[in-house]
Structures are given as structure tokens and as C-alpha cells.
């Protein structure tokens, strides 16, 4: 005869064992569900693989026929593969067209898109500096009566209005060209500031503005006692990303002002417009 304790233990143990079995059962359920899922996925992928393999074979046959200069409409084709063949040719042509679209995009095209049934157009301005693609600016232009800029994401400090006033009505392409040039210059100046901050430890960017056309840098001149040199760079021409004036200040020295001029393949700074030039490499 079992003691009460034993009965209770059996009961508890039994309860625990029943719980364990229940849990395992759920796990089993999970397992079998997952197995079903994997099985289904494998079947789908197998079908997809077979379909692509078939398409690839059709394409290869097409290529073979074309390179051997054979007619495309032969018995094998007439047996139903003709449509597949035509589909392959269209797909080849579509691939080329998409490649061309991508090429236009990569070389900085404006990507003009007609919207609202021709009532407006959207253009994109891609920017890049030295091979690195930077921001893309977009603009929607309303064409209903005159050409008007309706929406854009160009920074407010950019003189968009003045460019629009200059060219927008008279010469749309010139407007796009001017904008592209100036936006690229802005992106380039901005990137140069970023690179300066990232790569050159000895130079600190004290001040910069939205248009990045004024840059104040604190450099450390290497001498017996390292001196702080304050450089101010002015970018007078907003369509360019190189400075037009440089001003250098250092404690105990006179402030030096330079104008940056281009001479053949290098830049010179000329002091007071006399030809006493110092070459700086940029």
C-alpha cells in the first residue's frame, strides 16, 4: 500500500511528466510544421530553378541559331518554341534598353520624367566629386502656363531663384546645365570639408556655411613652437569648387591675403596681384 506521500509524489511526478510530454508534443508539432514548410519551399525553388533552366536553354538555342546565321522559324520553333524564342529576343532587347537607361543615370543624366499627363515634369540632378557619387537633388516643374518650379529639395541657401530668373523661360537646357554645374560645385565643396575633417587631423574646421563658400580653418604650423595659423578660404565663384581668395593669419605676423589664379596645370597664389607668386599644390 503506498503512503500518501508516495501517491502525492507520483501525482506530482506524473503531472510533471505529463507536462513534459505535452511540451514535447508541441515541439513535435513545431518540428513537423517546419518540416512541411521546408519541403514546400524546396518544391517551389525546384520549380523555379527548372523554369529558369528552361528559359536559359531557350536563350542559348536562340543565340546558337543567330550566331550560325540560321533562320529562326524552323520546325523545332514551329513546334511551339517560337513564342519562347520571340520572348527571349524581346528580353534581350529589354535588357539592353535597361542597360542604356542605367548608363544615362550613371553619367549624370537629368532623368526627365513626365508626370500628371504631361502637365509637369520631374528632373534629377546627380552630383559627384572625384568619382564618389554624392547627393541627388530633385525638382518638379509645372508646365501648364509658363514653366514654374513647383517642388524641389535643393537647400534654401542655394540661389535657385536667380538661376530660374536667368534661364528657366528662355532656355530650359541651359537652366538645367547651370543648376547641375552649381549643385555639383556645392556638393564638391561640402565633400571637401567632410574629407578635411575626416582625414587631416592637424586641421580644424572652425567655420563653414551652408553654401560652403567660406571656410575658416585652424592649422598648426610646424616650427620650434607650433603656431596656430588661421586660414580663411573664400570661394567667389559658386560654380567652382576651388577657392578664389585665401587669407592667412598668424600671431605675430601680418595678415597675408592672396588671390588664387590658375596657370596651366597648377594653381598659384599671387600676393597683391603682383607676380611674386608662391605655388601651393591643391
Amino acid at each position: 500500500m503506498k503512503s500518501i506521500m508516495e501517491t502525492m509524489e507520483q501525482g506530482v511526478l506524473g503531472h510533471l511528466m505529463a507536462l513534459e510530454r505535452g511540451g514535447m508534443g508541441q515541439q513535435d508539432q513545431h518540428d513537423s510544421q517546419r518540416l512541411e514548410m521546408l519541403k514546400a519551399r524546396a518544391v517551389t525553388l525546384r520549380a523555379k530553378r527548372d523554369q529558369i533552366k528552361q528559359q536559359t536553354d531557350v536563350v542559348k538555342i536562340l543565340k546558337d541559331k543567330i550566331s550560325k546565321d540560321l533562320p529562326l522559324e524552323d520546325d523545332a520553333a514551329a513546334a511551339g518554341g517560337f513564342i519562347e524564342q520571340q520572348k527571349s529576343m524581346l528580353t534581350a532587347w529589354r535588357m539592353q534598353l535597361k542597360d542604356l537607361q542605367r548608363a544615362h543615370h550613371l553619367i549624370g543624366g537629368y532623368e526627365l520624367v513626365e508626370c500628371k499627363e504631361g502637365k509637369s515634369v520631374c528632373v534629377s540632378f546627380h552630383t559627384a566629386f572625384e568619382g564618389v557619387y554624392l547627393e541627388t537633388y530633385n525638382m518638379e516643374l509645372d508646365l501648364t502656363r509658363t514653366v514654374q518650379i513647383s517642388r524641389h529639395n535643393i537647400p534654401p541657401s542655394f540661389p535657385l531663384e536667380s538661376f530660374a530668373k536667368q534661364n528657366l523661360q528662355k532656355d530650359f537646357k541651359a537652366f538645367l546645365q547651370t543648376l547641375s554645374q552649381n549643385l555639383n560645385a556645392l556638393a564638391a565643396r561640402r565633400r571637401q570639408v567632410c574629407l578635411l575633417k575626416e582625414l587631416v587631423g592637424s586641421v580644424e574646421v572652425m567655420e563653414s556655411n551652408q553654401l560652403c563658400n567660406i571656410l575658416v580653418l585652424m592649422c598648426t604650423a610646424q616650427s620650434e613652437t607650433p603656431k596656430a595659423v588661421l586660414c580663411t578660404l573664400e570661394y567667389g565663384d559658386l560654380s567652382q569648387c576651388l577657392p578664389t581668395r585665401v587669407s592667412i593669419e598668424c600671431e605675430g605676423f601680418r595678415v597675408l591675403n592672396f588671390k588664387v589664379i590658375r596657370s596651366h596645370d597648377h594653381y598659384c597664389v599671387s600676393k597683391d596681384e603682383r607676380l611674386n607668386s608662391i605655388q601651393i599644390s591643391i
Binding site: L38, I52, V59, Q96
Partner: protein, 280 residues
């Protein structure tokens, strides 16, 4: 059991990726090697031969037509026509794409061939794209002084700067060509373009005044930063005997006078003025 399926799934996915890449390459190669034949065959496809077209075909045809229309639009607005576009995918994964492209085309009458490699890396939301190689070949008599710019652009991999500059440069070249041609047609006895209407040289000579010539050099300079600057210069030639009569020192000061004239009247009117002086 599960593991077996998981392995199979992974294998199938890889196989699918490989087949898709193979199909893409084969499709591209058909176009590269047999573009003409393909175009020819496609004509009949578009004309709807073979009775009623299956719905899948007509959907593709519509898509292709749309793409063609869009490309015409892009060509027009960009001012750049691409005649050749060969793409080679060197690496394609979920986050990274490396491609080599070879493009050939023209911007108005200026021909170019550009080969470049581009790498795209998806980092979170941002797509980082970078040109890693760039080779440019330009062809045309206008490109005499273009090589410094091209070398610089190849070094800095500034693909976008090249095309921006090419557009502007081609516009200035076109202005020059049209102006030169206009004057040659209007004054055929007096104006000659010894190197063609696409060159930078125009000579004004009157048959009644042998030995006296005015040569206009219309240079279009392109700086390394892609700044396009046209500049005109005048060179006067006079026989030695005539120089004795040159009391007003026209020979010495002629080119400066011409610069002033340009500033006041602009290019066309200034050239017209010069031509008129020898049309007796």
C-alpha cells in the same frame, strides 16, 4: 531530415542565382555580338507576325516600347546619344555590385568612347556608389586642346564632370561652326575655312588685295576643372611694302582693336565688320 531540406534549399538558391546570371550574360552577349540580326528579327516580332500574340508577349512589347520612348527622352534632354552600351557584371551579391561599362556615343558631332568600372555598396539605407576606373577616348578635330582635361578627369575618376563639360564644350563648338559656316556661305569669295568649318581657323582675304589677310583664331579652351572658355584672336598679315603706308599702326594694334570690338559688338557683328572692310 530538416538539415537535408535546408541544404537542398541553399543549393537551389545558389543554382538559381547562377542560372539567372548566366541568362543575363547570354542575353547581353546576343546583343553585343548580333545586335543587328536581333534588331532585324525584332521588327517582325513588333509587326505581330504569327497570328494573335500571346498576352505575355504583348506585355513585353508594351514594356519595351515604353523603355524606347523613355530613352529617346533622356537622349534629347541630356544631349548625349549612346550608340553602344556594353555592361559586364563582375560581382553581384546582396550588398555589393561591381560592373564594368563601355559606352560609345556622341554629343552633337563630338564622338566619345568611355570605359569605366563602378562599385555600389548598400550600407543600411544608403547606397554608396563610386567610379573606380575611367578611360576616355575622344575623337574629332575640336579636341586638339582637350587632352589635359581628359587626363585630369581620368585621374580623378570624375565621370560626371566629363559629360557636363562635354555638353558645354559641344555647345560652344557648335556656335563656332555655325558662325563660320554662315560667313563662308554669305561671303564665299572673301572667307575661307582652310581646315574646315569645325576647326578654329577662319581667313578673310579679298582677291583685290593680295597679300593682306586677316586670320581669326576662335579657340575654345577647357581648363582642368572643366571650365569652357572661348576666346577669339585676330592675326593680321600685310606685305612689307604695304607696311610703309601703315601710318595708323593698324598691324600693331589690330588685334587689340578687335578685342575691343568684340566687347562692344559681340562675335558675329565684329566678324561681319571685319569682312565688310575687305569687301570693296
Amino acid at each position: 531530415m530538416e538539415q537535408k531540406y535546408e541544404e537542398e534549399i541553399q543549393m537551389l538558391q545558389q543554382e538559381i542565382e547562377m542560372l539567372e546570371a548566366e541568362q543575363e550574360e547570354t542575353l547581353r552577349s546576343i546583343f553585343i555580338e548580333h545586335g543587328d540580326r536581333l534588331q532585324h528579327e525584332l521588327k517582325s516580332v513588333f509587326e505581330g507576325r504569327g497570328g494573335a500574340q500571346k498576352p505575355t508577349l504583348s506585355k513585353l512589347i508594351t514594356e519595351v516600347r515604353e523603355l524606347e520612348k523613355d530613352l529617346r527622352r533622356q537622349t534629347e534632354i541630356n544631349g548625349i546619344a549612346l550608340n553602344e552600351c556594353f555592361v559586364k557584371t563582375l560581382h553581384k551579391s546582396e550588398r555589393k555590385l561591381v560592373q564594368q561599362l563601355r559606352l560609345a556615343g556622341h554629343c552633337s558631332v563630338l564622338l566619345f568612347q568611355v570605359e569605366f568600372a563602378v562599385t555600389e555598396i548598400q550600407e543600411g539605407d544608403a547606397l554608396l556608389r563610386r567610379v573606380t576606373e575611367l578611360n576616355i577616348v575622344v575623337d574629332g578635330v575640336e579636341f586638339k586642346d582637350f587632352s589635359a582635361f581628359v587626363s585630369r578627369v581620368e585621374d580623378t575618376k570624375d565621370l560626371l564632370l566629363f559629360f557636363r563639360t562635354l555638353r558645354t564644350f559641344s555647345e560652344r563648338c557648335e556656335e563656332r561652326r555655325q558662325t563660320f559656316q554662315h560667313f563662308q556661305e554669305k561671303y564665299p569669295d572673301v572667307v575661307s575655312l582652310p581646315e574646315g568649318c569645325r576647326s578654329e581657323l577662319m581667313i578673310i582675304r579679298s582677291p583685290q588685295l593680295p597679300g593682306i589677310s586677316m586670320t581669326i583664331f576662335w579657340k575654345i579652351d577647357v581648363s582642368m576643372e572643366g571650365v569652357v572658355k572661348p576666346s577669339l584672336e585676330l592675326l593680321l598679315k600685310m606685305p612689307d611694302q604695304a607696311r610703309e603706308f601703315d601710318t595708323k599702326k593698324v598691324m600693331e594694334n589690330g588685334s587689340n582693336y578687335f578685342q575691343s570690338l568684340l566687347q562692344i559688338l559681340g562675335v558675329e557683328a565684329s566678324i561681319e565688320g571685319l569682312i565688310r572692310t575687305v569687301c570693296l
